[in-house]
């Protein structure tokens, strides 16, 4: 698979942090709206966080082709790229399992019942982007 990437690893790490922080912000504003009766703040804050999430996603996953690398067919990858992807999938499987179980456990302990639809959506996004994020975090050159 051919790639071109001009972003340094340092910048990639920074944008990955921004991306995942923006998910936390989206969740934070969702719960502000739900529990504190501040719909305007929740709406504006949520919209700004969502824009930041989309912007950082495009910058770090699409423009660097990390997304393509992590989601392309095995046939389009060479042996080194396959190794990199396999290792990132292994790490992301562990990380995702731990985080998801911790969230479900947290909801159960707090007596909140099943997780909210926004949390589920954030977890779906997290599951899909994590392998690419790990590649971007660990690899010197993509």
């Amino acid at each position: 698979m051919k790639q071109t990437n001009s972003m340094t690893r340092q910048n990639r790490k920074l944008w990955i942090i921004v991306n995942y922080l923006s998910i936390i912000l989206v969740l934070g504003f969702f719960y502000i709206g739900k529990y504190y009766d501040l719909p305007t703040l929740a709406l504006i804050g949520g919209a700004v966080s969502l824009i930041l999430l989309i912007f950082s996603f495009v910058k770090v996953f699409i423009k660097t082709q990390l997304w393509k690398l992590a989601h392309t067919s095995d046939k389009n990858l060479d042996e080194r790229q396959l190794q990199v992807i396999l290792s990132s999938l292994r790490y992301s499987y562990s990380a995702f399992t731990i985080i998801t179980l911790a969230i479900i456990y947290g909801f159960a302990v707090a007596g909140q019942g099943p997780i909210d639809v926004v949390v589920a959506a954030c977890l779906l996004y997290f599951a899909h982007t994590l392998p690419a994020a790990i590649v971007g975090w660990k690899e010197k050159i993509i």
Binding site: K2, L77, D78, E79, R80, Q81, K140, I141, I142
Partner: protein, 87 residues
């Protein structure tokens, strides 16, 4: 399992033959970044890829790859010549 570091002469051979990383990558069927990783000895190739590289350069695999730091190619050739001459 952590594999040991392998040394190689890919960068020297490629420059000597005036081939770009992209061209070499296309010939041996890998991404051009992988050629960079190989040249910097940050990635050990599979046996199949090592054979493809040795076939392309027309040299025995042990002249391109080694588990020990490599001497200049000319020294290695002189040693080989002396070995053959001494037999």
């Amino acid at each position: 399992m952590k594999s040991r570091k392998l040394y190689n002469r890919i960068a020297v051979l490629r420059k000597e033959r005036n081939v770009s990383r992209r061209d070499l990558a296309e010939i041996i069927g890998v991404n051009f970044q992988t050629v960079g990783y190989l040249e910097r000895e940050e990635y050990n190739p599979s046996l199949d890829l090592a054979f493809k590289i040795s076939e392309y350069f027309g040299l025995p695999i042990e002249l391109i790859f080694s588990a020990e730091p490599l001497k200049p190619l000319i020294e290695e050739i002189i040693e080989l010549k002396n070995k053959i001459g001494g037999q």
